[in-house]
Symmetry: C2
Subunit: 358 residues, 2 copies
């Protein structure tokens, strides 16, 4: 089995800890390792290192190389971000040139997975199903009527694959409103689309050829230059002009192939905000529901996330539902329930010419 | 007219801006000058510089000398704090040795006064009344049922002194509970005791002799050493053993002299907490009721006080009634309505051996 780890995100949601130079996948926000390293290392029972391709932004190549030092992993830099279809296509193309043609797991680099053995079992079942040319997504069993994710609707009864339940996919559904999300949750035939799927690399490339011909054309030009002197020049020139479209929208919603979903219950989170990180780390909360990093002083605080990441002493009094993230050069204080809106602050910083803080 | 400015406070209420080495009277928290400098300078139309004695802690002598440089003001250091009776007695003693025997205004160094001309008119009326040996307090007209101050109850009708209204004092009342404070406010014959009063220096010393004989004895020994080589040694030795008692409790509540109160409406505050400072500076609030220092970024915040006093960028999102004070080495985030309880944080810091932050 092979893997393409998608590490191209530029996220601002964890500002002030995440910065342009160090987006979420490079942060050590859950556990002891940065998310990218966790993503790669949890694959090791299933995927050999030299069968992993990490696709990432050119500007993050050094950061990733440093984190993955000593590992025989392929780092593939995109000159610019062109959404997931291009990223996935590039990864598939590269694996083909390496002569690796088995099922490929395509995974975001910045997700949290609680139950790693469960995750690997699910992935293995998906790989088994993908061998015949199917595209097999992992469907996260929803725990709340989340409006921030897309959904996968299943149809028919389950097929058992080594104890895992697989279904035919009826349709992919874009992010719903709350009423629809509540209905999906009640119906029990919908999964969250976590963006993890398994398919053969040749299947990916032929799907791109069929549905995204411009992207396919560009990838072929890039492919022809792999392992030649003109690779850097070619990818730089071609990538700019590639269509920016998501794989879900460009391929998944249009494919005529067999699309399956494997029911997934391995404690998944996309760690999409400070609030979701706070919730994810519930086992570290104190009796009042506070999550602390560093050594802050708390008096009468509850349900708050207080991170002392700089050298300054942080002291908090009487806070509730509060997020305090103190770093060496910037401080964020927010209502933690508003942590989806941190983008607004980053936009203001941009507008104020505070680029050094981004 | 002379003045004794009491600058001995060690306050922790403005942590992390106030520290042991720099308590409130040395902070620039209202207007452009530290409170001590404002206190001294607002006296200038009434009191000549060389008739002002500032009594303060030994450890703050350098700080005060720096702030008052170029002014012909007497700085008198207490080796240790021994409450207001000792401080007032020492000031009175010292003025006597300078040959200054007119009415003396005794004033805390760390109060805010909004209407300086009004304050000076009130003080002048009080000085006029004090000439005959009366003790004359300034009674602040209360604006709310405050339980944090002592009260002064007047009796009888007013005497007009150049347009100011003076009354006999019926009694001094300790800090009341809320029900009593509400009654005082409704009755209209009670004032806040702001701790400002006027009396002749010989009156002060004879009152101390009558009611606080131990303090009187100590002051006499110190007095005998003034302008001799043994002054420093004497005051160090004697001051330790002086009784620690407030002037209100030791003298005002027991005196048999004539005690008067001049009604005061000059926009007074003891600036007792971050909340009171926030309220005091209402004219600087933005439309959402936020008070900003430095250049913080605020998104959807209201009724909050955000001070960026260090070099770090401060960004706030969705806050209400929140206090954020960021300094070079410490950060405070609090519910601003809890700002009376900051002492608790200072105690914890002390217990945690973080003395460098105090």
């Amino acid at each position: 089995m092979q893997a393409v780890v998608m590490a191209g995100g530029a996220g601002t949601r964890f500002w002030p800890v995440s910065r342009r130079a160090k987006p979420k996948q490079f942060l050590q926000i859950t556990g002891r390792q940065p998310l990218l390293v966790q993503t790669v290392e949890r694959l090791s029972p299933l995927v050999e290192e030299h069968s992993i391709v990490v696709v990432l932004g050119e500007e993050h190549l050094d950061e990733a190389a440093g984190l993955l030092i000593g590992k025989d992993i392929h780092l593939l830099a995109e000159p610019v971000g062109r959404n997931t279809a291009a990223c996935i296509g590039l990864g598939a193309l590269y694996l083909g040139h390496l002569g690796l043609t088995g099922p490929v797991a395509f995974l975001p680099a910045d997700h949290y997975i609680g139950d790693v053995p469960g995750f690997l079992r699910t992935l293995e079942a998906a790989a088994r199903l993908a061998e015949d040319g199917s595209i097999v997504t992992l469907g996260i069993v929803p725990s709340r009527p989340e409006t921030g994710y897309g959904y996968i609707k299943r149809e028919g009864g389950p097929t058992d694959i080594n104890g895992e339940s697989a279904f035919q996919v009826a349709e992919f559904v874009e992010k719903p409103d709350l009423a629809a999300a509540e209905r999906y949750l009640a119906e029990g035939t919908y999964y969250w689309n976590g963006g993890i799927f398994v398919a053969r690399q040749d299947v990916i490339l032929s799907e791109i050829e069929e549905h995204l011909p411009l992207l396919s054309q560009g990838l072929k030009e890039i492919g022809a230059s792999i392992q030649t002197d003109s690779f850097d020049e070619t990818i730089s020139r071609i990538y700019q002009g590639l269509p920016s479209i998501s794989f879900d929208y460009g391929i998944m919603e249009n494919t005529r192939r067999d699309v399956k979903v494997v029911e997934s219950r391995f404690g998944w989170s996309d760690v999409g905000s400070w609030l979701s990180l706070y919730e994810l780390r519930a086992s570290e909360h104190d009796l009042e529901g506070n999550l602390k990093e560093g050594n802050p002083i708390l008096v009468d605080c509850k349900k708050s996330f207080i991170a002392q990441r700089g050298k300054r002493k942080v002291a908090c009094l009487g806070l509730e539902d509060c997020l305090v993230i103190d770093t060496a050069d910037a401080l964020l204080v927010a209502d933690i329930r508003r942590s989806q809106d941190i983008k607004g602050i980053v936009e203001l910083l941009k507008g104020a010419g505070e680029g050094n803080l981004l």
